[in-house]
Symmetry: C2
Subunit: 457 residues, 2 copies
């Protein structure tokens, strides 16, 4: 394999400029779930489009959807014999609450030690800028030997509700050999790794209504069933004593792990102590009979993401709340599908909710799980690129998180997604003090240069 030395040299000489561009991107508070940030989503999409234009892509378009726009750009100068890679990313970020737990403002990037702190640093503006800089290094030196198409969306953090329709409409434009999805990570600063599988997602809001309005808990407590107590009972019943999800039929479509799957996961440097340290938890928990790595990456789960009822301010208010709400999400593994889990949840509520309350279940997001063959050529090329940048062999892992577009691309474009990203497990994704490890940012650029330079035709 030829070393793309001139491109690697270029990238090393321009690290300062790469970092400045990353900071600029991070300053845009592109929180997709909050309507008041809509103008920031537009700014972020234009920022990405400008970068692609500066790289020489043609055309570059900011295409509208029913929600936030998708940035599309293409570089097809390498001809029909070269592979065509569809680069996927998202320019939107998670909300920042609780804001008071941030050590520096989430949209004012701050470098402490070897990390850059900002919302979106790891998930995933840092990964997008790494890819832009890798392409730039090749374009400015030895040349880009592959065709690239960029599809950078603005709704990943809300479950990509409009991306499916977009891909369907743009099927011809998006045709490619495979998708390079940068929304992924490695196991540690010194553990180059490739992701073979992702979990899917089915996210719901469950709402319980008892009396028409809030009541005095002294006057009515005891006579009227309390919706918050009912909700707690319903949530408690969603797991059995062994930590298994107790929704009817929940496991019906779960592909059992093979002995080889379990052996692979056992080889990763992710013992129980690693999970405790990464999560800053004093003791792990979950489904009986599986290791923490298995539970977090290869077994389906059910988690409360939010819960609200009654009076939650300082002090005491003796209210019997009229209603209670929980955001509840499940992570799915092959071959579960979100719509099947929705049916399971509805069936559970029908069986378990008492006649003293009304209830409703709203679907907030859904995505099928993703999986890729480790023997595919793009997987092997990526493994060698990681080894080149890190100086040690890559390991194969699975991720517990969800990238909805992986399933969509599988279903709509008929191609696999290669998950190649540089985030770390302790990057505080979706939490206060999100960070990106700068050595990973620079090694990520080098990995992507090596990968793009070496892809077989």
């Amino acid at each position: 394999m030829h070393e793309p030395q001139s491109a690697l040299d270029f990238a090393r000489q321009h690290r300062g400029a790469a970092l400045e561009d990353l900071k600029e991107f991070l300053r845009i508070p592109s929180i997709s779930t909050l309507p008041e940030h809509k103008p920031d989503l537009v700014r972020a999409s234009n920022w990405v489009a400008d970068q692609l234009r500066q790289l020489g892509l043609e055309p570059v378009e900011v295409l509208p959807t029913a929600g936030h726009p998708v940035v599309y750009g293409e570089w097809l100068k390498s001809g029909d014999s070269a592979p065509t890679v569809l680069v996927y990313g998202h320019y939107d970020v998670q909300p920042v609450d609780p804001l008071k737990l941030w050590e520096s403002p989430p949209f004012e990037p701050a470098i402490r030690g070897e990390d850059i702190f900002a919302r979106g640093a790891s998930d995933m503006k840092g990964q997008i800028v790494a890819q832009l800089k890798a392409a730039e290094a090749l374009v400015r030196t030895s040349g880009l030997p592959v065709n690239l198409k960029f599809m950078i969306e603005g709704e990943e953090e809300i479950g990509s509700p409009n991306l499916g329709a977009f891909i369907e409409q743009q099927r011809t434009k998006l045709a490619c050999d495979f998708c390079l999805n940068l929304d992924a990570g490695v196991l540690g600063p010194d553990v180059p790794s490739l992701t073979l599988a992702l979990r899917g997602l089915a996210y719901f809001e469950v709402r319980i209504q008892g009396p028409a309005g809030d009541l005095h808990s002294g006057t009515f407590g005891g006579a009227v069933e309390n919706p918050a107590n009912v909700l707690a009972r319903l949530i408690a019943g969603m797991h059995d004593a062994a930590g298994r999800v107790a929704l009817p039929g929940f496991y019906d479509h779960v592909r059992p792990m093979t002995e080889r799957d379990r052996a692979d996961l056992a080889q990763l440097p992710q013992a129980e102590a690693w999970w405790m340290e990464q999560s800053a938890t004093k003791a792990l928990g979950g489904e009986a009979g599986f290791t923490a790595t298995e539970r977090a990456t290869s077994r389906p789960t059910l988690d409360v993401n939010g819960m609200l009822s009654g009076f939650t301010g300082a002090g005491s208010k003796t209210v019997l709340p009229a209603k209670a709400m929980a955001k509840i999400s499940t992570r799915l593994v092959p071959d579960q599908r979100p719509e099947q889990v929705h049916k399971s949840l509805i069936e559970y509520m029908r069986r378990s909710a008492p006649p003293t309350v009304d209830w409703e279940v709203e679907i907030l997001a859904g995505a099928i799980p993703g999986i890729i063959d480790r023997d595919a050529p793009e997987v092997q090329t990526a493994a060698k690129a990681l080894e080149g940048a890190w100086g040690k062999p890559a390991v194969y892992k699975r991720e517990g998180g969800t990238v909805p577009v992986v399933g969509m691309i599988q279903e709509l474009l008929g191609v696999n997604s290669l998950l190649l990203g540089f985030g770390l497990p302790d990057d505080n994704l979706h939490a206060p003090n999100e960070k990106f490890h700068l050595p990973n940012f620079y090694r990520g650029i080098e990995t992507l240069i090596r990968f793009l330079a070496a892809l077989p035709a």
Copy 2:
């Protein structure tokens, strides 16, 4: 019994002025639990003190406590042979959230039909103004034949945390034959009634902490136990399948209801349909083996008053929350005590909380239950006064709510509290659109005139 006709006539002629004074009092947003309303508590206490001065009480003092001040005033001109009545009330009110459910602003009193709508109208500014106007009518006509002491506090809605210390310090000043406590109600506009018992209160905040910070539910879901799920399980376990409170030892000190107690309650016009209508609930719930009236007034209960964890805004956020909180209160009956319930809750948490989380329980409020002998002379005088004002005999009831001062006065001053108030069960206490029924306001004034005029020496 001599009819205090001149005082009754005076009161009828001055209803307009009484209503204007009530409106003025209701415009002061004296929410005791919110620190930003501290100046309004001062305004409300001064408003009460001014009213007492205008009545001719001497001295009238606004006495500081560690929290909001207590208004004290005395009229001892009837001499040692006349009974001395300590009038208790509170000038503070509950918070108003959710504000958007109010049909008119909570601190701009609005009359619709025969009701006046405002926070505090029924609980209990309306009752205080009724007593002021009853005393005024006697003072301005036939004379006040009893000695009166007023003790109007500003912290009832937060559990009267400083009133116990106040009463201990002012024991001599507060000496009396009994306490007239106006913080009560009647069963319906046409059902004059007297309250023989109140439930006590033990109010807690339970906090669960799992990981040090919020985590990504995809990355860590399954490996790390979810504090919100744990809290739901703990709350669910606080009741058994029969709706009984499952905290260890919770019922140890509960005085069983007698057959006569149950027969008395069965005679009240409070069938299941009444409870459903009053609470605007489609079906009642609670402890098996008891009627709704028994459950709401004479059996102890446990209710979630508030619950909060994770992301509760619009849309979805895939967070595994670091912590979860519930405000949980129990209503107590004789001879339960808040400190015993606290021990039960701590013991329950010790037995039931998993080792994967840390937990703490904070005591937010506590009050012993209250009970009075129906054959006491003040009870019988009040029953006759109600009959005089309503033209029909009064019934005896129990209330599910808590008036902490009743227990304090029993313990610290050694006297009973007579609960004589004019609120209605559907007055929306502690909820949006609190109201007071104006016919009850006027009949309340007349009842209190008759009561004060007829008290035996």
